[in-house]
Symmetry: C2
Subunit: 371 residues, 2 copies
């Protein structure tokens, strides 16, 4: 299958309509392998083990996972089976709000079904709608972010606009375009010279593995750096803007994103460099007020810290770096307080990191929020 060899999306529905296929992002950039997910357990595994990752993609995968739950639901008692499967998918990972949001949306769309057949049809339609919507959201984020980059470029006399990004908020984390990368792709397409500093993003190196791979495929100039380097670059005026994605952002503007994002936000603030967060509205949490205190931060297997995976002699190996007897800890996310964020780039435009500014773009969320 040609698409499987060189896909431009990280996820698609199999032509049989009975499974989804995803890029196994654990093996990139060294191997492009496609996995087929046919059951709820497959979907939970793929989310837990980070075969798929990135808030929007977790949401889309979960949405199709709910559809797969419908496929395997028995004709008698499908409702309770379906409900249990939804809960299971929602529990796969704690931080990205898109997960629960997508499951709830597909589940609600299918709730009225009076037969398992209808439930399947409604669930698939809703999962497809979420997928299409996220593609559209990312395209719009790109358009609004492009204007920000264009304004920086105007002051640079043809010198490249240098953007630092952390982790991967590219199309691999979404469906198309990406969130933080959407403005970068749009600027590149518009002929604005761009250079991207790619934080390697320990422990799982999503920057060095995934963002570098995406940018390389698109022909966008980039340089991989250690997560330690960004402060130095900003101090020496080698960064024009920071753009990152997010796994969950409170409607008060606190940003949960890959561990280490907070450190870059501090450095950006210390050096007067704008720090933008790109996100679709599905990543806003309309209920929590205090991101630092309230967003659950996933702790993952310490082996993700102690074992580093890469290519040696054409094969993928993991090597252990610290002594075997040294314990490690693996906090997967941190929260950047709203006060350090210059602005949010959303599908409805750019806003400040305040409740008022966010809700002015999303007035339809106000009633939900005051619940």
């Amino acid at each position: 299958m040609a698409m499987a060899q060189n896909p431009n999306r990280p996820i698609w529905l199999h032509e049989s309509n009975r499974s989804i296929q995803v890029i196994d992002q654990r093996l990139l950039p060294h191997e492009l392998k496609i996995l087929t997910l046919s059951t709820v357990d497959d979907v939970v595994y793929a989310i837990c083990e980070m075969v798929v990752r990135g808030a929007p993609l977790i949401g889309v995968t979960a949405a199709y996972g709910v559809y797969l739950a419908g496929l395997s639901a028995p004709e008698n008692g499908y409702a309770s089976y379906f409900e249990a499967a939804c809960q299971k998918i929602k529990a796969a990972r704690p931080t990205a709000v898109n997960l629960a949001w997508a499951v709830d949306r597909v589940s609600a769309a299918a709730a009225s079904a009076s037969s398992v057949e209808t439930l399947r049809r409604l669930a698939l339609a809703e999962a497809d709608a979420i997928c299409r919507m996220e593609v559209d959201n990312c395209r719009r984020i790109g358009r609004y972010g492009l204007e920000l980059i264009r304004r920086i470029a105007e002051k640079k006399n043809g010198e490249p606009v240098r953007i630092l990004t952390h982790c991967n908020a590219g199309w691999l984390a979404c469906v198309e375009y990406g969130t933080a990368t959407a403005p970068i792709y749009a600027a590149h397409e518009a002929g604005i010279p761009i250079h991207v500093w790619v934080d390697e993003t320990r422990p799982l190196n999503q920057g060095a593995r995934l963002t570098a791979w995406e940018l390389g495929r698109a022909g966008i100039p980039h340089t991989v750096i250690t997560d330690n380097a960004g402060g130095h670059l900003m101090q020496h005026r080698m960064v024009d803007a920071v753009m990152v994605g997010t796994d969950r952002t409170t409607h008060t503007g606190d940003v949960a994103n890959k561990i280490g994002t907070y450190l870059k936000a501090l450095a950006a603030r210390d050096n007067g460099i704008p720090f933008y967060v790109a996100l679709p509205s599905s990543t806003f949490d309309w209920t929590l007020e205090d991101g630092v205190q309230q967003i659950p931060i996933e702790e993952r297997n310490p082996e993700e810290v102690t074992l580093v995976q890469g290519l040696h002699d054409g094969k993928i190996f993991s090597v252990r770096v610290p002594p075997e007897t040294s314990p490690a800890a693996n906090y997967a996310f941190d929260v950047t307080p709203a006060r350090l964020v210059t602005g949010f780039i959303t599908e409805r435009g750019v806003c400040n990191a305040t409740k008022e500014s966010i809700l002015s773009l999303f007035p339809d969320k106000i009633s939900k929020n005051s619940n």
Copy 2:
């Protein structure tokens, strides 16, 4: 040789007095290998390739390197041979000020020699003196730093004092005790419960490889974390103090240290956590005023970023993480401005990060400084 099997120092003079031996720190913690350095070229290689590293150890190695230059100096024309060798050693790496300081000190001590024999004797005596002095400095740093830890411990009701450190400023970076680790070892010996957060310290992982190994050998509780994690830990009150070493600190208080230190200093400031820098006076630069603008920052081979070394199946391998086509950059140090530093722990006591406070501990440097 028993010492070679399980040394408690990273460097010693061979019993023949004709070479020095060092731990090859590139292979730790997976292999404890001793290298013999017999020539100036050996010493330059060991410093460049980071067989030895850490500002005080670079200084001590360079000091013995000058002695080795004397050993191979011809009887006729030894002075110019010696001078050229000193320049070669000084050029090995740019950032650590101890390198030039130690070379100049041994060179000056031997300058009066009226024969190559005398030069050799004077150079060895001075290199030995520098080595002894650095051991003594680190012991004193430990004593002063212990008081800081004791004061934190008094408020903790027996709970461990949690110290975050970056890179390795342990005995492997010095000769004994270390700089940033000296207070930790002293506190552990004094029965104060301690827990150390060990930043892995990309790209060369001196934290995960060296600091974790040192602390493990000493039975000090510690946890390896990614460089990205420290901000999150500080935000959640899981760090009581940050203690790091330095490669060069201006007499105005700006601190060059392993890349990423600045990010931890920002997080410490943002969370009201004390940020201490431990250093012997040999690491102060008494001439530069503005560390951020003036301290030369070494750029090293990008392969140190793209290739990660570790153990697989009992053997040491390097694996490549990013795509082969993605370039990388490798800035080895950054500079933490004085305004972010709570205090310096020196062999003469603790002072603030201001010119006045530093010079009040080192009034003997004032004349040099006003040159």
